[in-house]
């Protein structure tokens, strides 16, 4: 075996290992640079929206609640909004395993979102359609578990 052969073999091993690693990462992990912010502007900019689980740390498995806070861009709480909750796992092609609902208005633009469950680990989208006097808008949050 000459030196060149050995180098070729080593390079081949490295390429195979790297390819396997990349394939594994693509399947199992969320895309690089995913925006994981828990507060952001809604798509059309009508609302400033924030989410927080009622209990930290966020757990895979149990049914739990979130608090959704909806304000106007200048910080005024949005009351009386109708909220529709959705989401799913883009890499798996399925929706949420439950049908969460906004069940209570807690004041100061805060809404309780009940009935949330994440039954798998990975990248989840958590979406809110917000209808209120100002207009209809939606917002998509990314979560990783």
């Amino acid at each position: 075996m000459n030196r060149r052969t050995i180098l070729v073999v080593l390079a081949a091993i490295a390429i195979v290992a790297a390819a396997a690693f990349i394939a594994f990462r693509m399947m199992m992990t969320p895309p690089e640079g995913l925006d994981l912010a828990r507060s952001k502007a809604s798509a059309k900019g009508l609302y400033a929206v924030a989410i927080a689980p009622e209990k930290e740390p966020l757990e895979q498995g149990p049914l739990h609640s979130w608090i959704l806070t909806v304000k106007t861009p200048d910080g005024a709480p949005v009351e009386g909004a109708t909220i529709a909750v959705g989401g799913g796992m883009p890499q798996h092609g399925h929706g949420l395993p439950t049908q969460p609902q906004a069940t209570a208005y807690l004041g100061e633009g805060r809404y309780r979102i009940e009935g949330v469950r994440f039954n798998m680990s990975g990248w989840w989208e958590f979406t809110f359609d917000i209808r209120a006097a100002v207009g209809n808008d939606n917002v998509v949050f990314n979560l990783t578990l």
């Binding site: 050995i6 498995g61 049914l63 798996h92 399925h94 049908q99 969460p100 009935g115």
Partner: protein, 398 residues
């Protein structure tokens, strides 16, 4: 020079061969999350006030093994849930008074499932127990007959746990809203207040059986000892050691084979319903799984929002926020635990697949579903990899 390069090459090959011993931090976390040690304490069941009552559990055990709790005195819960067979029966489809359409599920850890049966048509362990008791192909009896039987055979034990039995003097020997035409007519003829009293006795039998079933738990296996050592940063040795092939199978399970996507957590299930393209059985009625089960649990008078629930309706989140309809429910069936699975063929909701080898093949081929969409994607797996996956599943048996 040439010799030195060869030495470097051999060292690198050696390194590559050793690499499988080292798990990444993410792999270690996943392995730890699958150990029984990661199982939280069993939550209280506030919908069943005797869920953790020892006398109720003992009474429930008596009822579980009681063959007289059936139409002809030959069928008990234990007929299909055999205590020495992981509480299942090794048959493709269970046989009570007649052959049913579904495979019996094992019972370890069953108290943790938010929905019961392959299609989740019951939302509590106590409500689940009532289904087979009145199913014509299982126990085949009626709630009125069971009330009479319990009053005669176990009146004292029942009353010590649940309080006085109702007056049964005017209650027909056999009556139920789900029975034969004669049994339905007998039920219809009863006053509403009496129907409700009988329903309460019936629900209480379920609650006692549930108290017993809550005590049926998974036992740690070789995998748990291995996982606990890995989680503690130790090298698994002796009883905690897995073979090279088993470790390879574990890597595939949590990696490229994507098994852990649905078979996750210490019970190896996400407690959800998935369409995995399992073919229907010729000759059986069409089985749409969760699509039909969702409707049934919403309509069940013994569900969490019904009058027989103890405690407040705050315990009913699973029912209130379940997905009620839609494409994803079509032919979706509950993810079974994989603990002990390698030792209990046949597989799937109607025993469609005979061996664990064929199950792995099914997941590799990922056939389309006859309706709805299978969530599976085809995999490339060598013979060696299939064998490793199966070897790993063996570490979950004992």
């Amino acid at each position: 020079m040439r010799r030195r390069l060869l030495a470097v090459f051999l060292a690198l090959v050696g390194l590559a061969a050793c690499q499988p011993e080292e798990f990444t931090e993410a792999e270690k976390a996943t392995i730890a999350s699958l150990s029984l040690s990661a199982l939280p304490p069993l939550a209280a069941d506030t919908t069943n006030r005797v869920a953790d009552d020892a006398a109720a559990a003992a009474f429930g055990a008596t009822l579980f093994f009681e063959q007289r709790l059936s139409r002809d005195g030959t069928v008990a819960c234990a007929t299909c849930h055999l205590i020495d067979r992981q509480f299942q029966d090794d048959r493709p489809r269970s046989v009570g008074l007649a052959t049913t359409d579904r495979r019996a599920m094992p019972l370890a850890g069953v108290a943790r499932a938010p929905f019961l049966f392959w299609d989740g048509r019951k939302d509590s362990l106590w409500a689940q127990a009532l289904g087979p008791l009145e199913d014509a192909r299982e126990h085949g009896g009626t709630r009125a007959a069971y009330a009479h039987f319990v009053a005669n055979a176990f009146g004292d034990r029942y009353e010590r746990i649940f309080g006085p039995l109702p007056d049964l003097a005017a209650v027909p020997a056999a009556a139920s809203p789900l029975g034969s035409d004669a049994e339905k007519a007998a039920w219809q003829a009863m006053p509403d207040a009496k129907k409700r009293e009988i329903d309460t006795v019936f629900a209480n039998l379920g609650k006692a059986i549930a108290a017993f079933e809550r005590t049926i738990v998974h036992q740690p296996t070789r995998f748990d000892r291995f996982a606990d050592a890995v989680a503690a940063g130790k090298t698994p040795q002796g009883e905690a050691a897995l073979s090279e092939q088993e470790v390879y199978g574990l890597r595939l399970f949590i990696g490229r084979a994507n098994c852990v996507t649905c078979h996750n957590g210490p019970r190896f299930t996400d407690d959800h319903f998935h369409n995995t393209g399992v073919p229907p059985v010729d000759g059986l009625p069409d089985d749409t799984g969760r699509a039909a089960g969702a409707k049934k649990v919403l309509d069940d008078p013994f569900n969490c929002l019904g009058i027989h629930r103890d405690g407040s309706d705050e315990a009913c989140g699973e029912l209130r926020f379940m997905v009620k309809e839609g494409e994803e429910l079509e032919r979706a069936f509950k993810t079974p635990s994989l603990r002990g699975a390698a030792a209990r063929p046949p597989y799937m909701h109607s025993g469609q697949i005979a061996t664990i080898e064929d199950v792995v093949d099914h997941y590799i081929r990922a056939p389309a579903s006859v309706s709805g969409h299978s969530e599976l994607k085809p995999l490339k797996m060598s013979e060696k990899e299939r064998a490793a996956l199966i070897a790993f599943l063996g570490t979950l048996v004992e």
